[in-house]
Subunit: 329 residues, 2 copies
């Protein structure tokens, strides 16, 4: 197959049209496979002479990662009927506008849920038991010199863990931490049936009775800055924040101040307000563990994701039900 | 109470004798409390004029951490009847000689088991999901420059985890990792009743069918260097070793060579052959996580330990049954 998509060989002209929507920095690992089944339209490929005419008739978009799908984006593709997403979150979609235009939208569904839950627990153990600090201590040659790593970490078991958002990720976090003897409680849009963990109707009440808050919810208007100064105060001096959701779930400036001043105990952060920018003051703190939005990233997750969006693209063209479709409220 | 033990006030002369046995580097956090109940004999306190006469009649020793109790040690205290240990392991005791002399020996029992199991799982997630590497990447300011952290980690769920030693620590590791969807198998001195995990009669067979080996067993003559070159080869290029037992369970030179050459996939090490010495070549490797023998160290564990040894000292003097006593075979 030719590497440039606009060389319309007899094979490609009969293929179904697929629009690829992505930040330039996202490599589309799946393109070569997709080219065998679809005629790819790529707005980043400026040399494709048929891009503009075809963009008027393209019906389905593969949206790579959290690339924003705005009103402006939608205006460029008037025939769009379906956005197949590849991200667990959906804050990058203008859902109101998609609904108004009758465009259905899918997400990565559960493809990443186990990995994100594993990573959340990894961050929690790391912060509580000081694993990364210990690793720095040994690599820095401090052990023979200083003798002991102090202060000690604290016990994981018995910790009161408040899960914010008991969806596919949060429920998996709960299952894992129960096995460590943690006491789980949660807040969520509504109380879940068949869940024995105590429910709190708001995050402030949850924070008051938690040693650790784990943010697993989607970023929406309602959850924007849900962890504010009040919640951090409620969590208290020994409290820990783990964020594997989205950076904007937290008032980042307040969080950084609280960490710096010891007004909360620690944090494990995989996501930030302005990625890839991370507040540099955190780099010098031993009570934080920082990772570059990698909680979802394993080859196994990508395989599950590829299977899901491949299915959804085929389903779209054969009028079958989509999987992991966002239900408009 | 006076800070020097040999000032024999009327109160102290009537107290029961307790020998403290420790490396000079171990601070005895518990001494001030113990002094209210016992007349402390401390061989490191050279200024105690009654040390030598009293050492002939002392009946019980509190052994702090893994301080060796050798034949030579035992010869110094001819009246010794009981060694109250504070360590989960017992490789630092000359047990044959203790048995011959009719000296009973206790350990830390289960006091540390949850913490060690938590830390083992923390090391596993860290190595598999590259948490410490991610933290170094962010702190080093690499994210905005390099864009992506590569290679990716791999999925925790589905990993075949071989537990070496399914005692109080190993069984807790198994329970935790089941909740992540790992497939657990084990080897142990003998097959455990009422355990559903598959049993392998030797570590080599376990390694062949494992992605991760977690060393949770005691160090004995039989387990010394139980992870040798053959076992590492059986584990293979993607295999991971987690050691929260004792450094000498592993042929450290071979392990370091295998890690360096990529002949195994990675390692999470809390213990080493010659602590606090850690082979420096490991400091430059991204496939290892290193911690300074801290898996047992939380304030909660120390409280549980203090309760246990305090009980055992009282039990000794009142002829009650001891807890966590080593049973001679």
């Amino acid at each position: 197959m030719a590497s440039s998509d606009h060389q319309q060989s007899p094979e490609t002209t009969n293929l179904r049209l697929l629009l690829i929507h992505r930040y330039p920095r996202f490599k589309t690992l799946y393109l070569s496979k997709l080219r065998t089944r679809y005629r790819i339209l790529d707005p980043l490929d400026k040399s494709d002479p048929s891009f503009i005419p075809l963009s008027n008739s393209v019906r389905v978009m593969l949206c790579v990662g959290p690339t924003p799908v705005t009103l402006e984006t939608l205006d460029k593709y008037p025939a769009l009927e379906c956005v197949v997403g590849t991200s667990a979150g959906f804050d990058h979609f203008n859902l109101n506008e998609c609904r108004r235009r009758g465009i259905c939208v899918t997400t990565a569904g559960d493809s990443f849920s186990d990995d994100v839950a594993d990573f959340a627990v990894g961050l929690l153990i790391d912060v509580v038991r000081r694993v990364s600090v210990a690793d720095r201590f040994v690599r820095g040659g401090c052990w023979p010199v200083k003798g002991e790593l102090r202060p000690l970490g604290s016990k994981v078991g018995g910790k009161r863990v408040g899960i914010v958002g008991l969806g596919s990720i949060g429920s998996r976090v709960g299952k894992r931490l129960e096995a460590f003897g943690c006491n789980i409680a949660y807040t969520s849009k509504r109380m879940k049936p068949n869940v024995s963990f105590p429910f709190h109707s708001n995050i402030h009440d949850l924070a008051i009775s938690s040693d650790v808050l784990i943010l697993c919810c989607s970023l929406t208007k309602e959850t924007h800055c849900i962890v504010d100064k009040n919640v951090l105060n409620a969590l208290g001096k020994e409290g820990i924040v783990i964020n594997v959701g989205r950076g904007a779930l937290v008032d980042e400036k307040e969080l950084v101040q609280c960490l710096k001043r010891g007004e909360i105990g620690g944090a494990g952060l995989d996501v930030y307000e302005n990625e890839p920018h991370v507040p540099e003051v955190l780099f010098g703190l031993d009570n934080v563990v920082l990772s570059p939005h990698v909680a979802v990233l394993t080859p196994e997750s990508f395989e599950a994701l590829e299977e899901l969006f491949t299915y959804n693209l085929e389903a779209f063209f054969s009028n079958k039900p989509l999987r992991a479709q966002i239900e408009y409220e």
